[in-house]
Symmetry: C2
Subunit: 374 residues, 2 copies
DNA sequence: TTGTAAGCGTTATCAC
DNA sequence: GTGATAACGCTTACAA
């Protein structure tokens, strides 16, 4: 129960080892021969305290090893300097990176991060946010745009600033930061269309309580329908986000011919699984088929067939989120950059549509400059 | 500055939208026609309140949408219900999983997690711990056994319970939870010795401020020296923990012959890199060489040559850590299971020493039942 | 510049 | 079982 160094030592000794109450601001004040207000000022507005007293206080504080009590300060100032964030999970590399960057940025601005995972459960998320609010967080960071109305209601009612991340939506503006999932996938799909692909497969991440996944799928659909195309039902499969799942779903897609000439995966792990399964089956990439993913993880560029994918700077998302809430708390305008750049990392897993498929895969003449056979 | 729904709404309206102060316990008490003490009791010790009042209070509370103020409660009770954790990073899969599990377990016990990353910097870690302590965390979770003495001193002086994780050391006992890195690597090395390997390469993770990495290396060394063996200097390389780094370091090891017959990697990503580089160079695994890693990540079992490695249940580490601090806070004895099981996942990247190396690689007759040539 | 004293919103110790 | 009321440790007008 007690810890190592001072085996029998009860609660909190002062610097002299006396068992008395923990040292507080009053003790420092007494020792420095000043009022409590002055000690407080030394901490918060040192410039308003004479150098002499400032030093006396600092000395006393150091000598007593005083650690200011944040809860008392929070009660008095009505702000905790804490920000709560709810992520779906941390097992997903991009969320982990974003969380790390968020924490780093918050800390450099004097804030502390409270972190929790909702496991893609909005009810759970609501509970967590509520818990955060009770703990007095100054702001909240959420992932995605889909939330329990009560959650948003609570935040609004209590005037707790919040920001939605990882799914920038032009409609919402100044309330969310991150990549525009739909637009990103739209671009990736157009890239494949430019390569001549017309028959697409999609290994989507389950859109259950995941508006980012839904937006990505929508991006694919939009790009295709602009060309009068769509994904055949048997070529649209969906699952979670493991490599194993990517393999299994890819198998499902190639169950019977004709195969799609391009397979778009909803996230990095699904893409890795798909590529691994394809190469294991001797399917030539990109000779016979193209496979692309969303989000970039290191393994994708190290595999025998490096995978074309969208690079999202998730650490940037974390930083932007921190910037947003901190600015809001300071009453300032957040940085105008709320949307994150995404970049197509073109690698060997994608290429021009296979010769054999050229003719048969163009159902109707498509409009647009880049639609023809080149 | 204000948020969406009620554009011009100042701070905190009651349920009626009046701009007044946020609703507090007193308001609930007044509306329910009871004393503040009773409202508090309904929250904390409902069984000591008559059903009638309990319901009246609950009703009033709900009607006013009261959210208890945690900071005030913390000040009064002298406990925040928060636990601070400092991880080196979250980009490493195992830390991310541990953090997630830690948070989940803490939450189920009513605690909230404050999370921060030290980036393998002990000074930084100290600052973070200090910040946590000021914020009034009830306990702290640290990674590894190596820390700034001041950090531990601070925790001890303020009687803040803490646990060290990810490097169980029998010496420390009841103060750390996790796998025994040294012993785990010792076991893995012995496994390779049993397969007949005598010439080893090591791609170690940098041991700078990383006692886990150091312990792992020590485990290898111990196992070898028990057989009168050691790692040749040119076969011992060290770096961070990316796949690219694993590739580069592997290249260094095979710069000139004779090659080691077995290469032990200090973590999962280094192992993935080594295996990828080896196969890219046409080195047959395990025909010509064996490669093993520490820690198991999904990609390891999905690669064309699945990688033998040690499986550490990092989520278990997180859970154990939560269990430890919560039990300590409750004045109980923590679960007796502080050490985490590790398991050798034997896969295709390792096997018996190549025939060609059998003779030359046994420098002196080794002792032990499993040392001979089978 | 410095000090006095009134909160901040709970909990906890008493009596009743 | 219920109600006054004094803490809890700090900040912050307001005075001096």
């Amino acid at each position: 129960m007690t810890k190592m160094p001072t085996p029998g030592a009860p609660p909190s000794p002062g610097h002299d080892g006396r068992p008395g109450r923990p040292v507080g601001l009053r003790d420092v004040a007494r020792m420095a021969g000043v009022s409590t207000a002055t000690v407080s000022r030394v901490l918060n507005t040192p410039e308003r305290v004479s150098a002499t007293l400032r030093e006396r206080v600092a000395a006393a504080s150091a000598r007593l090893g005083w650690v200011p009590d944040g809860t008392a300060r929070a009660l008095a100032t009505r702000r905790t300097g804490a920000v709560g964030a709810v992520f779906p999970t941390l097992s997903h590399g991009d969320f982990a990176r974003a969380a790390e960057a968020l924490q780093g940025e918050l800390r450099s601005r004097g804030y502390t991060l409270l972190l929790a995972c909702s496991h893609y459960d909005l009810a759970q998320e609501h509970l967590l946010v509520r818990q955060f609010v009770e703990r007095g967080v100054d702001a909240v960071v959420l992932v995605g745009n889909a939330h329990d109305p009560q959650t948003i209601g609570l935040l609004d009612r209590l005037s707790v600033p919040y920001v939605k991340t990882f799914n920038y939506d032009p409609e919402w503006r100044h309330h969310c930061v991150g990549p525009d999932n739909r637009r990103a996938m739209h671009g990736l799909t157009r890239y494949l269309l430019r390569l001549g692909h017309r028959r697409f497969g999609v290994i989507a991440q389950s859109a259950h309580n995941n508006d980012r996944a839904a937006a990505r799928l929508q991006g694919v659909r939009d790009a295709l329908s602009e060309m009068g195309l769509s994904v055949r039902p048997q070529h649209l499969v969906e699952g979670r986000w493991t490599i194993a799942e990517g393999r299994a779903l890819f198998r499902k897609i190639i169950e019977k011919k004709p195969w799609p000439t391009a397979v778009i995966c909803g996230n990095a792990y699904l893409a890795v699984g798909a590529v691994l399964e394809a190469t294991a089956r001797g399917i030539a990439l990109p000779g016979e088929m193209s496979i692309v993913g969303y989000d970039d993880v290191e393994i994708m560029q190290e595999l025998p067939v490096p995978i074309t994918t969208l690079r999202i700077r998730s650490d940037e998302v974390g930083r932007l989120a921190a910037d947003y809430v901190v600015a809001t708390l300071a009453g300032k305008q957040p940085s105008t950059e709320l949307e994150c750049e995404v970049e197509i990392m073109e690698r060997s897993s994608s290429g021009p549509v296979p010769r054999a498929s050229r003719r048969e895969s163009v159902p109707r003449r498509a409009k647009g400059a880049d639609a023809g056979r080149r």
